[in-house]
Structures are given as C-alpha cells and as structure tokens.
Symmetry: D2
Subunit: 341 residues, 4 copies
C-alpha cells in the first residue's frame, strides 16, 4: 500500500538526519539558545530580507498557532478566519481553549477577501460583542488554493487601516511559494503580514515550524508565552539544525518543488483521464472527483482520504504529495487509475 | 568548556539516531497511530506490569504536565505541590494558564509528606476556596532527592482516602529508579499513583516523555486534550521509535545508571576534598557548596549553574550528569577541583 | 420619549421593592444561605414539580450562562447553538473565554432542530475536532419565536441518545411560557432539559436569574464555580427575596402575561396598518418591517432599536414590551404610527 | 441571636432603598449608560479629585478583582499578593481561573512592603518563570490593619520603577479611610495607585463596588472585559443610584465611621476586660483572643466566626461591625462578656 494520505508519512529528508547525527555529541545551550538555532534564524532573516523581525522555532503547527494567537490578543479580542481554516476545524478548539473566539467566514475556495473582513467589522459594533483583532489565513489554504500577491496586499492594507493583525498559517508555505501559479516571495510576507509561520514538518523536517514576528508590538516577552504553552523545547537544537539544513542552500524550496511536481503530474493525468476536481489547487494537495467504484478499487493499493461525498455515485478524494513522494508511485497510481477507468 | 549545566546538552543516544535513520523512509500513520508508537507503548506496559493503563507520548515535560493536569481537573480544582516543584517555579505558570491554582507547600528537601497534604486539606473547607484535587510530586525531586517506596505508599493511601489524584513528574525518573538508594520499581508506580510520566528528553532521547494514566476515570478522550494543547505530533513515530529503542532491552536504565555513576563519582570526590552539599542527592544532580573563589576558577573550564548563595564567601553550584557525560570530563573536573583547593 | 428598546428600562415591580424594604434590617446569612433564598428555591421546585433538582440564583444572564457551561463541560467539549443565540452574538465571547468553542448553526427563525444537531455530530468525528457536548437553545429565542413541546421533546430525546446535555437560556422564559401559542409547562422543562434558567431581570426583578440543574452529574460542587466566576453575591438575600415575591402567588406569570398582551396589541395594530414582520413572534419582542421615513418620524417620540436593513427603503425595528409597559404608551405608539402612515 | 459575623448581614441603608423606590418607574438606558451611573461617577471623580480616570460599577468584589486583573495582564504576567489577600484565599482561585498565577508573600499583619516585592522580583529572572506585573494589596487588609500614606508611597514608587501595576482591593475602603489611625485620602489613592475599588456592599449598599482606573494604559476597551465576565448589569442604574446616594453628601463616610466607632467600642471594652487581640486593627473587624469556655457561652446569644485556634484553651474570634450595627447590641455583647468573665 502506497500512501497519498498526507505529507508527514515519512521521517525527515536524509540530509537532516545526517546533520543531526553529525552534531549529535556536541554540547550546546538548551531551550533554543544554541548556535544552530541562531544560525537557522539568521538564514531565515536573510531569506525574508528583514533583520528587524523575531523568529522562534516550534515543534508543531497547532502549538505555533495557539501560542502566537494567545500571545498577540487581549482576552476580548477575536480572530477572523475562513470556515476551512485549520484553527476552525482541525485543532480541537485550541484557540478557544486560550479564551478567544474564532469568527468563521463561510468560503468555498478556502480564501477570504476584504469584503468578508469588512462584513465582520460591520457586524461587531460594541462591547456586547467580541472585538475582531486578527485575521488568520492559510497559504496555501487547507484545500490547496493560494493567495496572489495582489489579494494579500489588499487584505494587508485593510487590516492596517482597521487595526487588525494579519497572520498567515504556513504549514505548507513551501508548496505555495513554489507553485507555478505563485507570484508571492517570502520577502513579501515580511512586509505584508504581522506574523506568519514557515512549516517544516510537512516539507522535509522531522518536526518544526518557524514563527516569524514582523510587527514590533507582538514581539515582547514572546519566549514567556512559548514556555507557558510547553513550546520551549529543551533540546532546541533539534529544530535549529533542521531549519539550518533546510535553508542553507535552498533545500526547503527544492523539496516543495518536488512535492508540487508530483501533484501536478497526478492532476494532469487524472484530468486527462476525464475527471474533474473539487477545487483549483496549484499546490501539493489535490481533490479529484471520482466514481465510488473506482475509489474502492484504488483503495486496494493506495491509502488516501475520502474528502467528501458528491452524490450517491461519486466522491472527492484527497491526494497529498510531499518531498518524499516517489515518482514511480505516482506513475503507478495513474496507470492503475487509467486501467481501471 | 565542558558543561555540567544540564542533562540535555547533547543530542540523542546514537542507537536512537540509528533507529530513526533505519526507519526513515517507511510510510506510517500520523499523530501517534503508527506501529512504532504502538510497540513502544506495549514495551512500557510490560515494564510497568499493567495492561489496563493508557500511555501517550509527548514532546516535553511542561507540555505533559499542563495537558495532563488540565485534562484531569475541573475548573475549581487545584493542585498541591512542593515549593520546589517544577510546575511551581520553572514552567511560567503553565498550570495556572489552564485555570488551576497550584497550592505551594514549603519544603526544604523537595519532598512532601502526608502531614503536609493533610494541612492543606484542613485549610480548604468550603466553596470560597479552591478544592485541592491532585497531588503533584517529582521523583527525583528538582533538588535530587528521591521518595522511598514507603513514603510513596503513605502518600498514595492518603490520596485515595481523600479523593485526591496522585501524579508523579518523572522528568528524571530513570535516575531515581536507578539510584543506589532507591527501593521503588516502575511497577510500583503503576499501582501507587494515578498518573506519571517517564522522561526521555533528559535520559537519552532527542525529545519525548511517556505519560502513563493508571486511573480509569482519567483516560477518557485524552487525545482530544493532547490535540487541543498542541501536543499531538504529526510525525508521532519520532517519539515511538525513541521509546521503543529505550525500552526494548533496558537502554533507558543503562543510560540512567551511567548518569548516576558519574554523579556519584563527583559527589564522593568533592566530599573527599572536604566540601559539603546543600541536599542529599542520590541521583544525577548534585549541589556542592564551594567557596566563591574556587567556583570562579572552575568556571574558566566548566559550565554549571550557580544555584544559590550561602554567604558572602560560598555558594551552591549545581552539577548535572547524563547518559552522555564522559568519565574523563568528570575525572578532569575532580582533579582541577582538588588541585585548585 | 417612551422607550420600547428593551425590557429592562425600569426598576423592579413595586411589590419587590416593598419586600426588600420590609426585610431590610433583618440579619441573615450571606452568599445565598439565607432563609429567603431557601424559600424562593422551595417555591421554584414546587412550580417545576421536581424536588431532586438544584437551584442557584445569579445576578445576570451572561454570568449564569458562563458559569453553568464552564462548570458542565470538560476542556475539549463544545457547545452547539443557533447562530442567533445570545452566547454567540451578545456576550462578548464569554463562553470562549472559559475555553469552549461554540459551534454556530445557521438558522432563520432562531430555533434549531434535530437535523441541525445531527449534522454537527456527523461533522465531528475524531480528536482533531472539539467534541460537541451541550446544546444551547433560548426559549423564547432572541427573535421572539418559541419551541413547542413536541420540538423540545425531539431535541431532548436526540440529546439523551447522543450523550449531549440540553440547556435552555430562559432570559425571557416567562414570556415564552405565557405566550398564547405555548404548550410547554415549567414542569416539562424539568423533565426534558438538563439545566435551564428562569430569567428575573427581564420580568420584573431588579436583577436575578434562577439556574435549575436537573441532571445529577451537573450538580456537584456547583457553588465553587459560582464563587470562582464572581457570581456568589454577598447579600444573596437580594435575589432570594425577589424570586420569593415573584413565585409566591404567580406574580412572575402575571407580569409576563402583561408584557405579551402589550406586544400582541402592538403586533395586531401594526399588522392592521398593513405592515409585515421579520419573524413570527408570539412573545414580548416583535420585529415589524417599516418604511425608513416612518421609522424616522417615530424616533422623534419613541426609543427602539433598528434591528436590520431590508432594502434601501425599509428596515426592521425591534419593539420590546415588559411588565412595566404602559398600555397608554402602546396606544399612543399605534395611533402615531397609523396617523403617520 | 445578634450577628457580628460580617458586614453584609443586613440589606441596604434606608436612604438607598428610598432612592431606588423613588426612581423605580423611570425609564433609563441599560448596562450602566444611565444618568444615575453617570452622576455617581461624576461624584466619585470629584471625591478622588481627578477627572481623567475611568470608573466602572460592579456587583461584587470577586467579580471586580477577576475582571480587572484579567483585563490588565497579559497571559504570562502574574500578581504579587500578601498571603492573607482575599484573591489568594477566599475567591476560589478566581484569578488563576483567568490564567494568572498569584505569587503569595508570607505576612503576619496582612501587609506587604517594598522588601517583599523586591524579593519576588529578584526571584523571577527569566522566561521559565512568570513575570510579576501587578501588586495586589487590600486596604484595610483582611485582618483589619491599614496602610499608612508613607507605606503606600514607598510601594507606589517601587512599582513605578519596576513597571509593576499597583492595585488596591477596597472592599472595606470606607473603614480604612475613616479609621482614627488613617492618614490617607481618597485623592491620594488616585495618585499613588493604578487601579483600586471602593467597596459598597460592605458599607451600606445592597451590592456594588466602584472600580477606579487611574493608569491610562489600563482603560482601553474595559467594558468589553466587563461584559465578557458577566459583570455588565442590564439594570446598571441599580448600582448608579446607590453610589450616587452614598457619595452625594458623605453618607459613605458616615456609615464607615459608625462601623469603626462600634468596633472601637468593642475593642476598648474587650481590652478593658483583660483580653488581647491577634492583630492591631483600627478598622471594623477585630480579632480578640478569648478563652474557649467564654466563646462557647457568647455563642449562645451571638453569631461570629472562630478565626483560629491559639492553643487548647483559647481561640481568636472575629467580630465585624457595620453601618447597621446597633450600639445597644454592642453594649449588650460587652456586658455579657464582662458578666461571663
């Protein structure tokens, strides 16, 4: 059984394991104050082209989101997020558990726009309601779509005018930035958003997300919040070494490109076979609509999620590729799909 | 500079890195539902000699404590802990951040006893006060002391009678269980306490703590709490593989024994050199009282914490050994100390 | 200017002030352990026809909701509520501030049904999502509609089967129970729901809501939660005396009937004048759709809320009546409306 | 049985009930936006001699404390309080329930000083510990003592230098300010502290505390926090009318003086009878040490709390007087005590 279930089925890229092994017996400071973490942060700043930002390394996405958002907001302040947002559906109420409401905006393509945000602001008028204070988006979204530079600029401008923080969940940021349809640079994020994170776990690391804090007023005492939420790792070097390896010479982007290439291959051939897709996804998650009998046959040899039902005859499946996806597995899948069709 | 600052200065035991490398490209389920995690849990159950317990793997101690305690307690329930307890002083109010008061018991040797607990119960009489519901202890304590089986039995019995949960923070549990003065078995913990965790980070793992839930009423829906607190790791195999390696053939205990042996060596020779200690510690942290001039000279070649001041002439330092501590470094330290004295 | 803005514009029914004055200098126990509170609770139990329930008196609705729901739920458990629910829109995220997500169900008439609840249950399948555990409804709803006995029975049954608690916000419960279209008794609530509250503030009291806990497992230690949330009033007698007065001889229902009668009068005559309503409301809040020019003219003499815009020419206004609404004011309003039309 | 148990055994001062009755049928705005509340706030500003402060009326002390402190602090910030502080012992962990640790300073006379605060600051050095940010004191303290102007000035200065907020719980502030030994004015508080509250419930009101926010940075969005914590009362006029009555012509101070006078009378005569006191209290709570046999005899005719045991023969009782304490009851108590002695 070959798995297209997600992009965290394998361990880490071999270079990361090598780097860990090589440095293993060196003694370093704990809690992210080691030389590897410092080096990784310096590399990331260079990539983002800003040196006045703060960067902190976390072990996972939910942890990053909950630590950041609870640190950024006062008790009565709320988050605006698209209905498909990871924090809304797949983090077991982690943000609410820190005391903050997440206001859901119904979307079909995973993306929110300035009209959505204005509507929320208009509806929240006094102290009997929460105060919207932060806009949460994911890039790519949870259904594979990406924001254009222009879309992000518009959201950013609206946020600035309305005293809203803009936060980007970049669990799969590599895939977005390496998408054929992308026109955003890492350096644009450093200018347009107040904080974002660069996902490592889903792009070659054993674990690790790098939170970038751009807005000055969000920086103070941030390590206190990390420690309080259990996010300050004793052997912080584990994260530093990985991000150093990923960003030293572009490995991060190479891995994302491979994942996207594998997804494109799947997408094109499934399309050629005559099937349609639930969403337009130029990243490493695709959502083909297949007849149920075909899905059942594919399930004999491949693992993937059934995303949703379309009607009594067909369903949407999710196929996820990663840095580790083997081209021969993709080819085999396509062949099987065509043969079975 | 050789560091005796803590037991997380190096990476992982080489066997762990080998195991990670070996399994690296296998595809597994995410979020701790992989075969390695299952195997690790089975090994731990065997070691604890109970098969009706639940075991969950975490990435760090603060995360384990805050997830467990907030899952176990209702909003008005409080924790009783010794004043030296890690949750009281070194976790940035992580437990309070989940809404629970931690009642501090002043202790000098790091250990609480039944008299202490009874005093807290007597002082909490009605709904104008929190309701003490869980006793938190560490074994070994944060200052190196350990609980005897008899002491733990007495606390356990008192807790059962008074409807208090008993929780053991085992960040350095290996060192306690392998101490020359210890008479507790892992299997005793499974009987005497309601939940405890077995620390991996400070005993050879890259990261990892195994939470053991013994009391039935604490088990329900526990993975929801983990996810909500950001503790469910996507590549959960990273924890499973490490605990499997540590418990497959006793590596965990071998490593702890080495750490203790190195600490004993330091302790005996420092004692032979005529110095006293702040606490009686039969585990891998020792607290010698040294003249300040000597401390300053040692600091030229060694890293360690100044624990506390004794008077204008002398201070307590903390020396920590680990699975990775080199005997030659210990010998060198002792030689230097004696030469300088 | 006469106000139809809400049902808390005046003080208390004169009998309540008399009762407060009469008992004023008696010495009683504090924190709700006085004889008046005990008497009030006994009267309420009699009215509900259950003697195995717990009743606690609060000073306001938001306080009641947040104390009850946070006491009833574990950290990962969530509330299901209609999109118009008071806790969703008008309590500044009070429930989320205690750590719990409120899942919103889009409704047009303020009411949720079993289909809605089942859909939420179907969508929440594992530990990556919150666990729906409590259904929150208001009766009457925030837009004036009421639940029939049959509707409530169906919801109740579904909740029991699915291990969901059912909670009714009764801020205006008197108006619902005294509505011409109502077929529910206070005693039905005691059987069908797990907890509900009987609103006093909006029906003649200075302040006060009576929380009724029917389900045994929700009763333990409840006063601890009240104290922790600042809801245990030192001079608890203030609440006891009021509820005693309201329930001694049916005053509570008389007041609600008057409010409903005034609303009916408004509704019928506005309808006669040819206007329509946003919702079907048989209780003390009505929502006529009026041309904007008429609204502006009415605003010269009357206070009321503009609820929402319909189109460029017309809007919905909210008119609220209460125990204190004067019939002559209602008549004057109707006359003015007709004269102006 | 005459009660000296507390200062909230009776209702309200008759003038308050009259004022409530007189205004009862007027229609006003809800949620503290009525004319009475505005008038009360204006009177309080005049008394404090500052017009740039914000004042909010609450229904009780625990509610005031928890709303204020949780609004003022970020998640990692902690409160410093004396071990006898109301928030530490008698509010069921209300502050911790909002996520903040309360650091306890052991005191014998209820008061903390600059040495205490400095010690806490010295012990909290990095992000592994909470960040002390607010000093909570009560005046009078929970055991009747009061702060001198000089003591408060020293604490205030230390707080300013160290970026700590200073907060005064004034549940019985009237009694402190009217004490024969007091040299503080209400206007001094406006200058020396960042926020404080003026207790009404224990000095003649049915319920009500006035929170005064002096520090600009603590003012923003405060009503959001009130609503979120259930502290925004629908009929806010109830609080406004009472504070207007209390501060229109000095009634608040007259009532406190009476309470103090009654306490002095008790204190002097108990002292004359040869008994000692646990603490030096110049306010309305006194703590005589009496033989147990005498306590038992007094309990036949009087209600009061046994505060603590001294030895097997004697205990401390607490006697509390109030605006409502009858001089003849005090005389009777003294007579009985002397007769029984």
């Amino acid at each position: 059984m070959y798995s297209f279930k997600n992009d965290y089925s394998e361990g880490a890229h071999p270079r990361i394991l090598s780097a860990l092994t090589k440095s293993n017996l060196e003694q370093t400071e704990g809690y992210g104050e080691d030389c590897y973490t410092k080096k990784a942060i310096a590399l990331l700043k260079q990539k983002i082209e800003r040196y006045d930002i703060d960067i902190h390394l976390f072990s996972g996405g939910t942890q990053t989101n909950l630590t950041a958002l609870s640190a950024f907001l006062r008790p009565h302040e709320a988050v605006i997020a698209p209905s498909t947002g990871h924090i809304l559906v797949h983090e077991t109420g982690a943000i609410e558990a820190t005391g903050h409401k997440v206001i859901s905006i119904e979307v079909s393509d995973g993306k929110i726009n300035t009209t959505h945000i204005k509507a929320v602001l208009d509806a929240h008028t006094d102290e009997h309601m929460v105060k919207p204070r932060l806009v949460y988006i994911s890039n790519p979204t949870e259904i594979g779509s990406i924001y254009t530079k222009n879309e992000l600029e518009q959201i950013s401008q609206l946020c600035k005018i309305n005293n809203l923080y803009l936060y980007v969940d970049g669990a799969r940021l590599g895939s977005a930035l390496c998408s054929a349809e992308n026109d955003l640079q890492m350096s644009d994020l450093g200018i347009l958003v107040d904080a974002f994170y660069i996902g490592g776990t889903k792009n070659g690391a054993l674990l690790g997300e790098a939170l970038v804090i751009c807005h000055d007023s969000l920086k103070d005492d941030f390590r206190f919040h990390m420690k309080q939420k259990g996010a300050l790792m004793a052997k912080g070097r584990l994260l530093g070494i990985q991000f150093q390896e990923l960003f030293e010479d572009g490995l991060y982007f190479d891995l994302a490109k491979h994942a996207n290439k594998m997804a494109d291959l799947l997408k094109n051939e499934i399309s050629n076979a005559g099937y349609k897709f639930l969403t337009h996804s130029p990243t490493n998650q695709i959502f083909p609509i297949l007849p149920n009998w075909l899905i059942e046959k594919l399930q004999v040899k491949y693992l993937f999620y059934i995303w949703t039902k379309i009607d009594s005859d067909s369903s949407v499946i999710r196929l996820v590729t990663s840095w580790a996806t083997k081209e021969e597995a993709v080819v085999a899948f396509i062949t099987d799909l065509k043969d079975l069709s």
